[in-house]
């Protein structure tokens, strides 16, 4: 855990109250709003979460009845006919999800308070050995590409760069450096048509990305763009 001096005592106590769910509804909402803007506060909340979890050792396990699993699967595994199900992606929390649950979920990633995206295309950019998995969702109307790094990382001292490979084009075109676990980038207009039928690739590059306009490092992962 980071040193006790890193945060003001007031925040230490309030973050603890937030995790313990002791705050009033208003104070909880206000704190959740602060969490969206303050990464240090998110870290403090995560530290409280992790510090307290071992208390659950004293809670006895109870095997739930089979009907619970049946109900869950009926909910999440419907639409077997669809090749890829539409999932909530950077969406605002629904009415059923409290601010605390939404913030608890969002606190584990860097939160970008952006408008809901309605993806039309997706790509799973996966290394052959699954050591790197980046999920991409593209909204053709808005021209925005949302990336989430599911597994793996850039090699030490290198960065990951995203490329668009278009059939018949002379070479891959850079879409930029992937500098966050979750990020949204706006695809240049002249690439949007090509993106919808292209392949996305990720290479490892020197910090700042390739300076030649083409990948200079190894191409680690590929994923074709498919329509949802």
């Amino acid at each position: 855990m980071t040193g006790a001096q890193d945060h003001i005592p007031d925040d230490i106590a309030t973050a603890g109250e937030y995790v313990l769910r002791l705050l009033s509804a208003e104070d909880e909402a206000a704190f959740a709003a602060r969490l969206r803007e303050e990464p240090d506060l998110r870290r403090l909340v995560s530290e409280w979460e992790q510090a307290l979890v071992p208390l659950f050792e004293s809670v006895s396990d109870v095997v739930p009845p089979d009907r619970v699993l049946s109900r869950i699967e009926a909910d999440i595994f419907k639409d077997t006919a669809q090749p890829a199900k539409r999932r909530r992606w950077f969406g605002l929390p629904t009415a059923l999800v409290s601010m605390a649950v939404a913030a608890a979920i969002a606190a584990f990633v860097i939160f970008n308070p952006v408008a809901t995206q309605a993806p039309t295309h997706r790509a799973e950019i996966i290394a052959e050995d699954n050591s790197l998995i980046i999920r991409a969702q593209y909204d053709a109307e808005a021209g925005t590409l949302d990336l989430a790094r599911i597994a793996g990382n850039a090699p030490t001292g290198r960065v990951l760069e995203l490329w668009l490979i278009e059939e018949g084009a002379p070479g891959p075109v850079s879409l930029g450096v992937i500098d966050d676990a979750e990020m949204r980038l706006t695809v240049p207009e002249d690439l949007r048509t090509a993106l919808r039928q292209g392949t996305l690739a990720v290479s490892e590059e020197p910090p700042g990305g390739s300076t030649t306009g083409a990948p200079t490092g190894a191409v680690l992962a590929l994923g074709p763009v498919v329509e949802l």
Binding site: M1, T2, A4, P9, I12, A13, T14, G16, E17, L20, R21, L22, S46, E47, E49, Q50, A51, V53, P54, L55, F56, E57, S58, V59, S60, D61, V62, V63, P64, P65, V68, L69, R71, I72, E73, D75, I76, F77, A84, K85, R87, R88, L96, V97, S98, A100, V101, A104, I105, A106, F108, V109, I110, I133, R135, A148, R149, I150, A181, E182
Partner: protein, 193 residues
Amino acid sequence: MGLHACPGKAMTVQMANRESIENDIARMALNDRAAFQRVYHATSGKLFGICLRVLDHRAEAEDALQETYVKIWKNADRYAAGGYSPITWLATIARNTAIDKLRARKITSDINDAPHLAAPGPTPEAAVIAASESRQIVNCLEELDADKAGAVRGAYLDGKSYQDLADYYTVPLNTMRTWLRRSLIALRECLAR
């Protein structure tokens, strides 16, 4: 945050549990149903226990558990990017879902349910927690007055509110707030040592 020290073979099994759960959560983000089922079977006993402890009502706890795993499935991609221990993520979602239900419960609801049966002895899920998390919190709580430690546990494990705690310890609400805030600061100082 270090791993709990356990001798030899037992540690290997527990480490494998943690890694396989992490891998399965990553696979869930890619719609892998078998991965979801493995995570469910490995963790649902603990998460149901957490829901029952907060809600003390079978049907409500079942609903909370159902909502919890639906959220886990839908947000599996968010877990991996955060890099936290799987049981922290899973248990936190379960606890918060159960507390949401507790707070939404109407005061006049009549609770007449058979008490839940406790599973005897340590279980694989308990082992997963023991191996993967530092248990400093237990030692640090022991440094507090028994009442203050009890209040922290009551809030965390039972979902008690400030009013519940003030009533239980027969102190004014603001006193309980002061106690608890001071205790949290003391706990963090202890945890940071």
